[in-house]
Every structure is written in C-alpha cells, then in structure tokens.
C-alpha cells in the first residue's frame, strides 16, 4: 500500500472539485432580528421570539448584512442582481428552529464571479469561476457530548448572517484548492466582512469532488465531503477522496453519490450514515420577505467604496515602494500588516528600512507574543521615530532593538526610553576622542602592532571604546577617529 496518495499529476485521472465556502458576516446583529452575534455568550442568551421561531414571529432583514454581502460579491467580480429572492430550505433538525432555513435559491444575490489563483504557464491568469454568492442565515449548535443520552441545543448562532460562495467545478488539484481558499480568505480579510476564524466556525468549507480521465469532457458522479476544519485538512481530504474514487473506478465499479465526512485524526473519509432518500428541501420563495431590491446607483456606490484589494495593493507596492516580490507577499498577506507598514514607511520616508523592520522585529514579536496587530502597543509613528533615530545616528542598530523591545513592553515612545535607559549614542567628538585616547594609552603595544599591519586588531580597540562608553559610543565615529589617528 502506498503511503502517499497519488497526486493528480501522476495518474490518468484528474480530480474535478467545486468548493462551497460559508462565511459569517461580522454584523452586530443577526440577519433577521436584533439579537447580538457576539461569539462565546452563555447558551441561548442571544435569542428572541424571531430566532427561537416562537409562533407568530417574523423576519426583518439586516441592512449591514446586505452591504457586506454585496461588497464580497463585487470584490469577487460577480454580477449583483437588482432583485433577489429569499427562499425557504425546509428540513427538520433540532438546531434549525423554524424547520426551515431562510436562504436564497432561484434568484441569489450575485452570480458569475471569479478568483484568480495564479498564472498559467503562458502567463494568463488562472481563474476559478464562482457560480454564485448568496445570503442565508446560520443554524444553531448541537452539542452531543455534554450531557449523557441527550443532545444540547444552543441557538445563539441561529440566525447569524452568512454568505455562501459557491465555486464552479474548476479546481483540479488539492494544491489548487488550498490556493483558492487562502486567496479567498485574504480577499475577504481585505474587505473586512468577517472574522474568518475556522476554529470559531466563522469560515466553513464543504467540497464536491468527482474524477474523470484526463482529457474527458464529461463530469463523473460527485460526492460531497464535509467536516474539514482547516485548509490543510481540505487538501488532505481531497487527496484521500480522490484516491478512494480512483480505486473504485479502476476496480470497474461506479461511484455512489453520497456525503462523506473527513476524519482528520485517521486521515480518511467515511460515509455519513445512509439516509432514507436524499434531502428534498422543497424550496419556495419565503412569503414573509418581499424581494430584496437594490438600485444600480447603490450597487455602484458600494463598488466605489471597496477598499484596495490584494492584487491592486501588490501592484502599488511594487510601483510606489519599489519592493521586491518576496517582501510584497509578506507585507500584503494581511491587510492590517500592510497598513501598518505603510504608516511606518510614510512617516519615515524609507520603505526598505520600514519593510525590513516590519517583516523582522514586528512580525517576530507578534508571533512570539501571539498578539494581533490591533492590540500591538508600538504605534507606527513611534516605530518610524525609532528608525529615524537610527538613521540620524542617535542610537545604534543594536540599541534600537533593545529600545523596540521596551516599546513593546511599555508602549512608551523611543525618545523617552532612549533617555531613560541611557541608550542614546554618544556622538560627541570630544568625548569619543577622550575615550579613544584612554584606550590607546592603555594598549600601546597593540596599537603599534595594528599600525604595523595587523588590521584585525581594529575590532579590539573599537570594542574597548564601546566597553568604556557602556555601549553608547557611535561605532561609526569611533572607527573614523581610529582611522584618523592611524593616518595622522
């Protein structure tokens, strides 16, 4: 038995994958009622007659959800419909209070978008088509292992606004799926429409996968794979399911249409319990909600106010800041980091130095402390000020690193810290000259040997001056003074 799943490239089959991504929108209140969407509240705290589906309750649509959903659809290049319809998707489940989910079916919010995930060999953009973006409400949570013999239902999440982004079956490998998801997530981060936290469930992925022989046009029978809790999980699950389907087809059998669940611990997919008859959701337009009508003008305004998107930002960083591809990738991966970098660079007037420090000290600190940028105590203006002090010679590079660490701890400004800790470099010529004299007086023999040609002894004298100065001497100037002594 092979240990590695056959990859799409080295067999006669290719995988054909479509991904359905559910994203929770970061509104204050739920899609159809004023209950808070705040995560982590006591069970059923955020519920009301509407999201509890009490008899007689009715839905009223959240305008911020419409705004965020439209933003996402436009950023994905989709056509936003001037009229879209909410439909009921009917099924029974204890965390679905009404016995139906309000979603969209025949006339969704947006259709026909795409996401570029890279370039083809000929340089043309590799696009994954997006069939539709639609709005729907989330269900509550079922907790099966909290109390013995019963399932516990928490409806705090019931009614939270979601968008569902459905891709065309254009994905041909697990790596492409991973790229699609990472780039989609980045785009949505730039748009600031969601917390996008897979652990908290604000981002979920389901996959539809079939196989076919390379070169074949017809699609095979697809299966649905669920329960993937990370992007790498998606990649592994797709490879596992691909291998399973290949084995079946190679053995001459047919693929059965079914739903499979990914088991990350075992690294396998297995069928969900067989259901009597597939789901018949009996979709029909929700009579409690007239159609959602958006004007061309309003849609245009949302488009106008879209923030700078990743591609545009990457291009601008290349042109404006003249940064290289690697630096751009790191700095634009996260929109907040890019904004932080630009603020520092703008204040300092030196993108390269700013880039190095942000990619270096700042990112390392964030990683080590687990902080996020919005809580980071070092303000861009202060970091710029620190870097300015280095450029001006007021502090050495190594002193600057110490000052930075103290800025992270205290949030104080660099000038204050430098003074308090006595880290300001000494650049005063007279003082430096005095220290140089003292050192040379103390080591005349070594000085003679240096003058005689043992150039590496320079470091000894510089080191001695640094020690005498308590680390505060400006090393450049010390070098200059020693050079002048040597020649003069």
């Amino acid at each position: 038995m092979s240990t590695a799943a056959p990859t799409a490239t080295d067999t006669k089959y290719e995988m054909v994958v479509g991904l359905e991504v559910h994203v929770q929108l970061r509104t204050r209140t739920k899609l159809f009622c004023n209950c808070s969407t705040q995560f982590g509240e006591p069970p059923n705290r955020n519920t009301c007659p509407v999201c509890l589906a009490l008899p007689g309750s009715l839905p009223v649509l959240n305008e911020a959800a419409v705004d965020l959903a439209t933003r996402a659809a436009l950023a994905l290049g989709a056509d936003v419909a001037e009229e879209s319809i909410f439909a009921r998707k009917n099924y029974f489940y204890p965390d679905l209070p009404k016995g139906y989910q309000i979603s969209q079916f025949d006339k969704p919010l947006a259709t026909k978008g795409s996401l570029v995930i890279g370039e083809h060999a000929d340089g043309s953009p590799h696009r994954i088509g997006i069939t539709r973006v639609h709005m729907e409400e989330d269900a509550g949570k079922s907790v099966h292992d909290r109390f013995p013999g019963v399932t516990a239902i928490d409806l705090n999440r019931a009614g939270v606004p979601l968008i569902e982004i459905v891709s065309e079956p254009d994905i041909r490998s697990s790596a492409e799926a991973g790229s699609y998801l990472r780039l989609l997530k980045q785009l949505l981060e730039y748009l600031d429409v969601s917390d996008l936290n897979m652990e908290e469930g604000s981002l979920r992925v389901d996959a539809n996968i079939s196989i076919r022989e390379r070169g074949a046009a017809k699609l095979g029978t697809k299966t649905e794979v669920k329960n993937m809790n990370s992007f790498s999980g998606v990649e592994r699950a797709l490879d596992a399911e691909f291998a399973r389907q290949v084995a079946i087809v190679e053995a001459g059998a047919a693929i059965e249409q079914q739903t499979l669940l990914w088991d990350a611990d075992r690294g396998t997919v297995r069928p969900a319990r067989a259901k009597e008859g597939s789901h018949d959701y009996r979709y029909f337009p929700d009579p409690d909600l007239p159609p959602l009508r958006l004007t061309k003008k309003w849609i245009a305004q949302v488009r106008e106010h879209l923030p700078e998107l990743p591609d545009a930002r990457r291009r601008r960083f290349a042109e404006e800041h003249k940064l290289g591809a690697y630096d751009i990738d790191v700095l634009t991966a996260n929109p907040r980091l890019a904004e932080y970098f630009e603020a520092v660079s703008h204040a300092l007037g030196d993108p390269k130095t700013a880039a190095n420090w942000v990619m270096g000290e700042v990112l390392a600190t964030l990683k080590n402390t687990g902080q996020t940028l919005d809580r980071f105590p070092v303000r861009p203006a202060d970091l710029a000020a620190l870097l300015g002090m280095v450029r001006g010679g007021t502090v050495s590079n190594s002193a600057a690193k110490r000052i930075f660490a103290l800025m992270v701890e205290t949030g104080d400004r660099p000038e204050q810290i430098a003074e308090r800790e006595g880290l300001a470099q000494v650049g005063d010529e007279a003082q430096l000259a005095a220290w140089v004299d003292e050192v040379l007086d103390a080591q005349p023999a070594e000085w003679q040997r240096y003058l005689g040609g043992e150039k590496k002894l320079l470091g000894v004298f510089v080191g001695a001056v640094m020690k005498k100065s308590g680390g505060r001497a400006d090393p450049r100037k010390v070098n200059q003074l020693l050079a002048a002594r040597a020649s003069g």
Partner: protein, 104 residues
C-alpha cells in the same frame, strides 16, 4: 395526478408526521380526492403571467444593524419542554457524525 400510498409515506416522513400505517390508504384516497380538483389548473394558460412574488414595489424593508434584542416576558425555561444549564435538550442523535450528516 394521483398520489400512491408509497408517496404518502414519503411525504409523511418529509413532514415528520408519524402516520399510523393502517390509515395510509384512507389518507391517500382523501388526498387524491382533493388533488383531483386541482387538475383543472393544468389546463390554464399562464404563459403571459409571472408568479406572484410578494407585494410592494419597494422591496423588503431593511433594518438598522443594532438596537435592542426583542425582550421575552418570561424566561425560556418557562415554556421549554426540556432545558438544562440553559441548553434546550432533545433525545441524543445516534452519533456526532450522524449529526453532521443530518444537518446539510
């Protein structure tokens, strides 16, 4: 169009109605009696008219994202059949995985 007893059972399952199997033939007959009257609709020419999709030219009203939660005059456990530690309780589904499958 007529409904078979198998279809009645299927529909009852979709609707979680728990019909007494002994009553299914009678119910099928009743439904067929009613549905027979609906056949007249299939003969109507509706090519020039779209379905009724809800009133008002303005479309669905939009609510500001904020404001107060609709209050309940009574705590949830006053009307809930089974609650514990603020969770609603139902008989356990067979396994967690099955739960994930039931919920599309």
């Amino acid at each position: 169009m007529s409904v078979t007893e198998k279809e009645v059972l299927h529909v009852a399952t979709l609707a979680r109605l728990g019909l007494d199997p002994a009553r299914i033939p009678t119910i099928a007959a009743e439904l067929n009696g009613i549905l027979a009257h609906m056949d007249v609709l299939s003969k109507v020419d509706t090519s020039n008219v779209g379905p009724v999709t809800g009133i008002g030219a303005a479309g669905t009203p939009l609510r500001v994202d904020g404001g107060n939660q609709i209050p309940l005059a009574r705590p949830r456990d006053a009307f809930a059949p089974a609650m514990r530690e603020a969770f609603f309780l139902v008989p356990r589904l067979a396994t967690h995985e099955d739960g994930a499958a039931e919920s599309p």
